[in-house]
Amino acid sequence: MEAKIKKATRHVNQNEGLIFEKSSPGKRAFELPLLDVPGGDPGKSLGSAYRAEGVPGFPEVSEIEVIRHFTRLSTWNYAIDLGMYPLGSCTMKYNPRVNEHVARLAGIATEHPCQPQELSQGCLKILSLLEKCLLEITGMDVITLQPAAGAQGELTGLLLIRAHHKRNGNPRKKVLIPDSAHGTNPATAVIAGYEVQNIKSDANGQVDLAHLREQVDGTVAALMLTNPSTLGIFEQQIPEIAEILHAKGALLYMDGANMNALAGVTRPGDMGVDVMHLNLHKTFSTPHGGGGPGAGPVAMKRSLEPFLPVPVLVEKDGGRLGLDYQRKESIGQVRAFGGNFGVLVRALAYILAYGPGIRQATEDAVLNANYIRKHLEGAFDLPYTRPSMHEVVFSDAIQKRNGVNTMDIAKRLIDYGFHPYTTAFPLIVPGALMIEPTESESKEECDYFIDAMKSIAHEAATNPELVKTAPHSTRIRRLDEVGAARKPILRWKPGDSSQSDKTTTHKVKVTTPTVPTC
């Protein structure tokens, strides 16, 4: 009998344990050059502060095990590099590889934020050029690159607004936020010390102007507006909205998360926006990396300049650049050491690659979204019929009749090889399907997506159970989130054999082959 010896196939990486479960004492992966100074005696120098036994449970593996472990883990992820990621308002576009290359260059990645400014002119020039480009794109006067993410940008923006009102004698009490807004907006307003007041959307999903007029008074500091809204619809009345606010001394803050619909076509600064943030990890292609890092620069009109966070990039004599920390009215610092420089480098590389042609990316993004909308109208309920920009929001109303909801449809989309769209947001559309293809999708990929969605709509009508129990093709099926929240297990512990994967049966026994010897 010929014994079958199975070589490692794809299934082997389906059961990769934790790095700690692969450890054995004495294995190591990274070696240091030998010490070239006298060795010293840590026990003596540090006394009781010395950790004599080393870190308990720390990994002990070889280099190849590290490579295999993380490579295997990576194969369990979906990614933009594999296919479309139609998450609404996330702008999952291509992350250009040249951006990764330049961020790692010697002389770029190696620089210390506290080193002398005269030895940092290269870094400061990068910051200066990025500032100029982002101001040109947004139509604003002044910008800070310090905030580490969109939410931090929002906070910075609100702190600037607060400082402005305080200087005028009264910080004011309230911030108005549309009910369609992203959750960071109200959370941020509270941290900035404001009360949140919700503004209703009208039947077209836009800010209800009459309602707004009633609500704006001397206690309102600002309105936080996302434009296009989270429905993907342009707030046509933004100039009127700005007027209503300005008449009562309030300011207009724009959440720039949806800038991918506007770059090169129009400029928020021209339309009355006073201050806004940008998400460089959205419109400007810096990688999401599983959830960050990002960067959230804040651009504003000249009147808010005195309150900029420090340090402020300034031009000195002879064209040299410097960082100014002496700003009496500054709101302070939202982060140590300036902004996420590595992310800023990537964003500038993206802008330089496009130049003025950045408009084409915006046009393609809007084209893709409208193409998808046209083909899925009818198969899915479209609650708001105003023109879509870079994203379109459907609802699960039709599929709900058979008990299939947006989450089920999203999970079934995984079986067709796509990452789900954004489910259940914005809150004003019950059972929302929020789809943003971005400009990085070819017509072919869009067609695949349309076909998949149409097929799922058909399944929801004829075989709803198939959709409700999806996904069927993934290594892991739907996970018990309730159990995870009731009894949270948030770390591995040594000696915790109960935690090892039950299905370790994929390790094949190699039996001695009974082939004749030569």
């Binding site: 599983g290 920009m389 948030l490």
Partner: protein
């Protein structure tokens, strides 16, 4: 354009399918007056080669070729090339936040491993999946203490990093949180008497950094005792995470706020870095940031999900524990890979080398007449020295020897105008140390 996968013919096809005559029609909802008639005034378009040349040229205008003795919250350490190999895998680099757990198990398991490593290092029971950086982690830790105790005063050691304190003040100014500072003593560590007189039962937290900004290692035990007596929490900030490879973990702390930049992240002119909050299980529901939890799927397989998300902004909105959305997932992955590579032996060896090189440097500096240690507390890889002349002047001379000198403590602590904060890591060679020391000696001998 190379990033756009459409031919002109395909664009036409798609427009026809939509029923639009031109792309301009799709922008008709933007008021005419605000639609741009001209292209933006931006540099480019650059080919890939030109993009690279632009940044290479900028890289030549910085500090390449100089040795460096700067720490002050950002540390140069050896990084394996393996880390970038993993980080650059498209499945890690270009994936999103793992909200759809079935197709994000790679990210989620890596986060779970990160959380575990942070607990092992800090001696705490739970750790989150990262904050923006150490400065915001420290601020968030204070806000967390505020939520837990319901108190509105916080005592911060003046030996905590000046920029961390500034970030805390920026957040506090609008929230009614009262921030007071506690002085440092002759040893360079927290003045216990100062703490004793300041502490009352309206203080939510005492914030101490260890090793502190001066590189001095704090004795947390008496500080914790004092704090706990009045129901106050101890928040310990850590800027040089590598110290935990050699130093006893801050188990006396109730909340640890750490900067993980030392674990596989280049200094990169200030960011992106990775912050962590670690604490006890009983406080987990007050902890900001994401958490990956272990669970099982319908077939009993182990898997991981984001959990306790109800604390976060996308559910609680104005009642959220924090407004954080994006974290630093890729940076946390870098730390996870780096620490897996270093391992138990490697992190201890790296820590030992840091200590040895710092001690050697101090020993050589003290041979120079007039140069002496500023403080007496033990240190890890950073220490303060006093020069008989201004540090700025010494640094100016050092630049001529292609050395980026130590941090000028006088810029953040006016009373320490002649003191310098010297950092030496495993990356600094003996030759560079000797060059630095002779440079300092020469600078101090320059006729006035």
């Amino acid at each position: 354009m190379r990033y756009l996968p459409k031919s002109p013919a395909e664009r036409q096809e798609m427009l026809s399918a939509i029923g639009a005559k031109s792309i301009e029609e799709l922008f008709s909802s933007i008021p005419e007056a605000y639609r741009l008639k001209k292209p933006l005034n931006l540099p480019g378009p650059y080919s890939e080669t030109e993009v690279i040349r632009y940044f290479e040229a900028r890289g030549q205008e910085n500090s390449l070729g100089y040795s460096r003795f700067l720490g002050a919250g950002v540390y140069s350490h050896l990084r394996s090339v393996v880390t970038d190999t993993i980080l650059q895998r498209g499945e890690f680099l270009t994936s999103y936040t793992p909200y759809q757990a079935e197709i994000s198990q790679g990210t989620l398991q890596a986060i779970f491993e990160f959380q575990t490593l942070m607990c092992q290092l800090t001696g705490q029971e739970v750790a989150n999946a990262s904050m923006y950086d150490g400065s915001t982690a420290t601020t968030e830790a204070v806000l967390m203490a505020e939520r837990i105790t319901g108190r509105r005063r916080v005592l911060v050691a003046r030996s905590v990093h000046p920029e961390y304190r500034e970030v805390l003040r920026t957040y506090a100014r609008n929230s009614g949180l009262v921030v007071e500072e506690i002085a440092f003593g002759k040893a360079g560590t927290l003045d216990l008497e100062g703490l004793r007189s300041a502490i009352r039962d309206d203080v939510c937290a005492v914030v101490v950094q260890s090793p502190n900004f001066f590189g001095a290692i704090e004795d947390l035990h008496p500080i914790a005792e004092l704090a706990h007596k009045s129901g106050t929490l101890l928040v310990t900030a850590i800027a040089e995470a590598l110290s935990l490879g050699l130093l006893a973990p801050p188990s006396d702390a109730d909340i640890v706020a750490m900067e993980g930049q030392s674990f596989g992240l280049a200094p990169s002119f200030g960011g992106p870095f990775v912050g962590v909050i670690a604490s006890q299980e009983k406080f987990v529901r007050q902890m900001p940031g994401r958490l990956a939890g272990q669970t099982t799927d319908a077939n009993g397989h182990r898997g991981f999900v984001l959990t306790l998300a109800t604390r976060e902004q996308h559910i609680r909105r104005e009642k959220a524990t924090s407004n954080i959305c994006t974290n630093q997932a890729l940076c946390a992955l870098a730390a996870t890979v780096h620490l897996s590579l270093l391992g138990k032996e490697g992190i201890r060896e790296m820590g030992t080398q840091n200590l040895a090189k710092a001690e050697f440097t101090l020993g050589e500096l003290e041979k120079i007449p007039g140069v002496r240690r500023s403080f007496s507390a033990p240190f890890f890889n950073e220490f303060a020295v006093e020069f008989p002349r201004s540090v700025k002047m010494v640094n100016a001379e050092l630049l001529k020897a292609k050395v980026v000198g130590p941090y000028v403590l006088g810029s953040a602590y006016p009373e320490l105008s002649k003191h310098a904060l010297v950092c030496v890591t495993e990356t600094t060679s003996r030759a560079e140390i000797e060059n630095f020391v002779s440079g300092v000696k020469a600078a101090l001998e320059v006729p006035l």
